[in-house]
């Protein structure tokens, strides 16, 4: 049986991690169908059809799908699941919210946040904030899988031409009402997919001081991250949090500034290719994962860092 991929989108365009989830789905079985659920999503649906690994697109439209409520999404996916061996989507807040609701309806034990497909029924996933890896075999007839997007490369996004099949909408779930979404708009790259991330922690001491990080991030074309301590202290909004209960990032370069390196933070960044730590406490655990450690006061080091960057003739973007 084929694999059903749940497309993530905002009714305008596909969200980028759909491509990573499509890669994982295609590693489970070459026959990947994708379901897109929402309202007025013609462009997103077109993008989905163009993904070469997607062989068929199932399209479900309805006003009650506009805000991606799991209570509305789950019944229609459960119905479609009849024809599929696996249901797959990203383990971001969209998939985390939705997939267990589907799995429970299907009486299936979900396998969350996999980082590798070992075989169609066996997967590798991190546990204990990534301090151990578990190999899990699912014996359920239908498998519900969420994938860690940063552990799978995005697949090709153009060249395909999957046919679209319309699917009837399910009834509206009336006990949940969407009120509003406050998205933080930024011209910077998305944290989850950025090539460089500059992150600040409690050592930043205030939200204002984050401008030292913003300046460098803009110079490098980087996204801005933060430790939970910095978000809890109100220095920066929650969508910047990197770690076990925030986002997992795997950039080419991760610069941790004033972050001590609690295991919960390391869980979200220690797979980065190159890690830089700037901290005045030479004993801080962040240095144990850093390729380049600088023991220094960040309020002196960051302005110097900016000066040094300004001296460079070229900066990779």
């Amino acid at each position: 049986m084929a694999v059903l991929l749940i497309a993530e989108h905002n009714n305008k365009e596909l969200r980028p991690f759909t491509l990573n989830a499509a890669t994982a789905a295609s590693q489970i079985d070459s026959d990947v169908h994708a379901v897109i659920i929402g309202q007025n999503f013609a462009d997103a649906s077109k993008q989905l059809c163009e993904i070469p690994v997607v062989k068929k697109v199932l399209s479900v439209e309805g006003a009650h799908y506009e805000n991606f409520t799991a209570e509305n999404f789950a019944p229609v996916i459960v119905k479609l699941a009849e024809n599929y061996s696996h249901i797959v989507c990203s383990a971001n807040t969209f998939g985390k919210n939705l997939m267990p609701r589907i799995a429970a309806h299907l009486d299936t034990s979900q396998v969350s946040d996999i980082i590798k497909v070992i075989s169609p029924d066996t997967f590798l996933r991190p546990i204990y904030a990534g301090n151990a890896f578990a190999t899990i075999k699912s014996n359920d007839a239908k498998k519900c899988i969420t994938i860690r997007p940063t552990s799978f490369d995005p697949c090709e996004s153009t060249g395909g031409s999957a046919p679209i099949e319309k699917v009837d909408a399910s009834e509206e779930f009336s006990n949940t009402k969407f009120i509003k979404r406050e998205e933080i708009k930024s011209d910077r790259p998305e944290l989850g997919t950025a090539r460089i991330v500059v992150s600040g922690g409690r050592g930043m001491q205030s939200g204002d001081n984050f401008k030292l990080i913003t300046e460098i991030a803009d110079k490098l074309g980087a996204a801005i991250g933060a430790s939970r301590a910095a978000v809890d202290a109100g220095y920066i909004s929650n969508d910047h949090q990197v770690g076990q209960t925030g986002k997992v990032v795997v950039p080419d370069l991760y610069i941790a500034v004033g972050i001590s390196g609690a295991i919960q933070h390391l869980a979200g960044m220690k797979e980065s290719k190159v890690i830089v730590a700037i901290n005045k406490d030479g004993e801080a655990p962040i240095f144990s994962v850093a390729d380049y450690g600088l023991e220094a006061d960040l309020f002196e080091a960051l302005p110097q860092f900016m000066e040094e960057l300004n001296k460079l003739n070229t900066i990779q973007k």
């Binding site: 209570e71 971001n92 807040t93 969209f94 985390k96 919210n97 939705l98 267990p100 609701r101 589907i102 429970a104 299936t108 034990s109 979900q110 969350s112 946040d113 991190p126 546990i127 204990y128 904030a129 151990a132 890896f133 578990a134 190999t135 899990i136 075999k137 359920d140 779930f173 006990n175 949940t176 009402k177 969407f178 009120i179 509003k180 979404r181 406050e182 998205e183 939970r228 909004s237 929650n238 969508d239 209960t245 986002k247 080419d252 370069l253 295991i263 919960q264 220690k270 290719k273 190159v274 890690i275 240095f287 390729d291 380049y292 450690g293 600088l294 220094a296 860092f305 040094e308 990779q316």
Partner: protein, 249 residues
């Protein structure tokens, strides 16, 4: 309103876990255990709602072995009224836990069920959503703010793009983020008082629920270690290394 709060006993968040040499799991003998951190937020929120006069009773429930009762006792010490301990041997998958909680919800008839958004041991992030599917109740996951309004809740959820606000009718499930509140510490007199509060013990086998495992854990291993890095003397050296050695800027 009656609030049921599910709590789980896990390895303490400060413990650096060790993988067993035979690859069957992680070492739990002589390791400090405590309540799953966001479950503490769930209890705190329920108690705050009761203190504000908007809830009549807070019941703490755990599903676990003998010692899991400590987490219920701790919930009682910070303000829960009574406890339920569903006894099981070994660890259950979130699907099995949610089926047990469904039975408890059928019996207790709460208006709200709270729990942490994720357990920090298996990092599954499933139980609340599964329970809400089984009960066909609304779910407000990753909650960082809850406003109780008569028979509705307005909940702010932390999502990847920022914040989302939804309104849900009770009965409903809420899974709590660490930012929802600041859990209080139990005072010594309250710890003493909690010892007198009732905890009902129920054998999972008496609930008529299929809790058999669907997943096999074939192996648990250490993640690959990063090779040790170097300390640089100053910012100029750092930038030079990033440019010419790591070639990332």
């Amino acid at each position: 309103m009656k609030i049921l709060v599910a709590v789980k006993r896990v390895i303490d968040y400060n413990v650096q876990i060790r993988v067993k040499e035979d690859g069957t799991g992680v070492v739990t003998d002589n390791v400090k255990m405590s309540t799953n951190p966001p479950d503490d937020n769930a209890i705190e929120e329920a108690v705050k709602i009761k203190e504000a006069g908007k809830a009549s009773e807070v019941v703490a429930v755990t599903v676990g072995e003998e010692k899991a009762q400590e987490t219920v006792r701790k919930a009682l010490a910070v303000g829960a009224d009574r406890g339920v301990h569903v006894k099981v041997d070994g660890t259950l998958e979130p699907l099995a836990v949610s089926k047990i909680l469904q039975k408890i919800a059928d019996k207790e008839k709460p208006d709200l069920v709270f729990m942490g958004k994720q357990a920090i041991d298996d990092d599954c992030n499933q139980t609340g959503q599964m329970l809400s599917a089984l009960l066909n109740w609304p779910q407000a996951t990753f909650a960082s703010k809850i406003d109780v309004k008569d028979n509705k809740l307005e909940v702010t959820r932390e999502i990847d793009e920022g914040l989302e606000t939804i309104e849900i009718n009770v009965p409903a499930i809420v899974t709590c983020d660490l930012r929802l509140n600041e859990p209080r510490y139990a005072s010594l007199p309250n710890i003493m008082k909690a010892k007198k509060k009732p905890i009902e013990e129920i054998a999972a086998s008496d609930l008529g629920v299929d809790v058999s495992p669907r997943l096999e854990q074939l192996k648990v291993e250490e993640p690959p270690k990063r090779k040790a890095g170097i300390k640089v003397a100053n910012v100029a050296e750092l930038v030079q290394k990033l440019k010419n050695e790591a070639k990332v800027i």
